[in-house]
């Protein structure tokens, strides 16, 4: 029983670290703020959640805390990405290699909000 739990935990450890590494690689490689936000969001969702699943399987007495933290991370990560993207768009940071922008010129009409 513990052997199965440990093997699953090992898998989640390796997978979470691999996703974190890919996320950091994308963070270094992608051209502008908006595309980098996709990569950094993946680090928090995949890396931390997979590590927490491994921690639930390995550490005694932490299952409820771990599940609470997974729930909180899944709740917080998209709103952090949205806040950063909105701040970047409002301060007028340009997008690299942009192909289509439906939002262009609409922000001034709707005024300051949020």
């Amino acid at each position: 029983m513990t052997l199965i739990a440990q093997s699953i935990a090992l898998f989640f450890l390796v997978a979470g670290t691999a996703f974190s590494l890919i996320g950091i690689f994308g963070f270094l490689r992608l051209p502008d703020v908006y595309t980098r936000l996709h990569a950094s969001g993946k680090v928090s969702v995949f890396g931390v959640v997979f590590l927490l699943i491994a921690a639930i399987l390995l550490t005694p007495l932490s299952a409820w805390k771990g599940l609470l933290l997974i729930f909180f991370v899944l709740l917080a990560a998209p709103s952090v990405s949205h806040a950063l993207a909105s701040a970047a768009y409002k301060t007028g940071i340009p997008m690299a290699r942009v192909e289509r922008d439906d939002l262009k010129g609409k922000l001034e009409k709707s005024g300051e909000e949020g």
Binding site: R29, L30, L37, G41, L68, L75, P78, H82, D101, D102
Partner: protein
């Protein structure tokens, strides 16, 4: 009644954090949860009813699985994009109708879109149109609307 509705999740969080479910701890947790919920503003969401609980839970479970598969798919495709030596990204912002009338439904569908990597909500206007930044404009414009329709149907089952 609304206050108790807010207080029960707070009590569950308290119990999860303190880690022991004994009677004194339960009483203290209930008192703290009621105190905190009296400080919070009461929203104007739908009232709780026992009759709708099974349908709500069933829709919640299906929604959870839809979101998890979305996250996994989006994560793998983004990883493939990042590791590709030619970096074939076509970034851009597209407009998507949120379509949910309630505030909570709109917030949850925006959350689900941002959670799946590869798509990211930048802004939302008064009519409820979401402006989504995607790594691949053509692909997202094709698939996002169908996925959005499925999520919207489940959200409507939950909250309306």
């Amino acid at each position: 009644m609304r206050r108790v509705q807010i207080a029960i999740p707070l009590l569950l969080v308290y119990l999860a954090l303190s880690g022991n479910v004994t009677l004194p701890n339960l009483v203290v947790g209930a008192l703290v949860a009621l105190g905190v919920s009296s400080l919070l503003p009461v929203g104007n969401g739908a009232a709780f009813s026992w009759k709708r609980l099974p349908r709500f839970l069933w829709a919640l479970i299906r929604y959870f699985f839809v979101v998890v598969t979305d996250i996994l798919e989006g994560g793998l495709s983004t990883a493939r994009l990042v590791l590709d030596p030619k970096l074939p990204i076509h970034p851009g912002i597209i407009a998507l109708p949120a379509g949910s009338r309630t505030e909570l439904g709109a917030a949850l569908s925006a959350h689900a879109i941002s959670l799946s990597p590869g798509e990211l909500v930048v802004e939302m206007d008064d009519e409820g149109t979401l402006f989504v930044h995607c790594l691949d404009v053509q692909q997202s414009a094709q698939y996002a609307e169908a996925a959005q329709r499925l999520r919207r149907r489940l959200l409507r089952e939950m909250f309306e």
